[in-house]
């Protein structure tokens, strides 16, 4: 029977906790977390900034670069045993991992509550009091997808950015 505890691919090895590896993971999680909202919200930039001669070409280049960064960092992040372990039930983790996982999820919950409140106020409550505010079609869906993406990536960001390198020479 498949045993997640003993599967070597999901075990954290000493190499994963080196300074270089942690720096790489920090960069990849940050890219994965922030490039998606950037890609989504580029369509809300004023039209005169986009598709306008040279600046339009530069803009498209940046967009393609962001999309590639997003896909590469996403693959890297989800292939990482640290991140995989965040989604494991507690019975497969040891006490340090459980504590880190809970800290990361609490951090994400706090920020999601704040972001949800801001989203609800700006999208539904404020427009009710101030007339004449209209949002672009699909804006609410975009906000929803961004928040959904942040639910997944905020715990990862917290987990990785709070990791300190553990050198093997300390062993």
């Amino acid at each position: 029977m498949f045993n997640v505890k003993s599967w070597d691919g999901l075990k954290i090895k000493e190499g994963h906790l080196s300074q270089k590896s942690i720096r790489r993971m920090k960069f990849a999680t940050a890219m994965a977390a922030f490039s998606f909202p950037l890609i989504i919200f580029q369509s809300y930039l004023p039209d005169e900034l986009i598709y306008n001669g040279v600046s339009g070409a530069v803009f498209m280049g940046v967009l393609i670069f962001l999309a590639i960064c997003f896909l590469v960092s996403l693959t890297f992040v989800f292939a990482n045993p640290f991140i995989m372990r965040l989604s494991f039930p507690g019975k497969y983790l040891d006490e340090w991992e459980i504590q880190k996982s809970q800290d990361a999820k609490s951090f994400a919950l706090c920020w999601m509550s704040v972001l949800m409140l801001i989203a609800v106020f700006t999208l539904f409550i404020i427009p009710d009091f101030i007339g004449g505010i209209t949002v672009k079609t699909g804006f609410i869906e975009d906000i929803f997808w961004t928040l959904f993406w942040l639910i997944i990536t905020l715990p990862m960001l917290h987990f990785i950015w709070n990791l300190t390198p553990l050198n093997s020479d300390e062993a």
Partner: protein, 88 residues
């Protein structure tokens, strides 16, 4: 007076482990945690649960207050010198 400094427990895990010539991995396997838990515990970045503290003390065959303390430990050389002075 009992006082927890900075909400942190001090430990002698690294000393006890190196004394016995164990690697982090070996000790971690013996007390059923991952090696990084031992690493962060030794460094003082993580406070062990009561269960793990007892497991470690039992593994090393020492009373729990020899391995863990809410106050910083004295240097072993100082403790030995103090003990020798008290014996004389």
């Amino acid at each position: 007076m009992f006082y927890i400094y900075n909400n942190m427990m001090y430990n002698r895990i690294k000393l006890l482990r190196t004394e016995r010539g164990l690697s982090r991995k070996e000790l971690a396997d013996a007390v059923e945690v991952n090696f990084q838990t031992i690493g962060y515990l030794e460094r003082g970045d993580y406070n062990a649960s009561l269960e793990l503290a007892f497991k470690l003390a039992e593994y090393f065959g020492v009373p729990i207050d020899v391995a863990f303390s809410p106050r910083p430990f004295k240097l072993l050389s100082q403790e030995l010198a103090a003990k020798r002075a008290a014996d004389q």
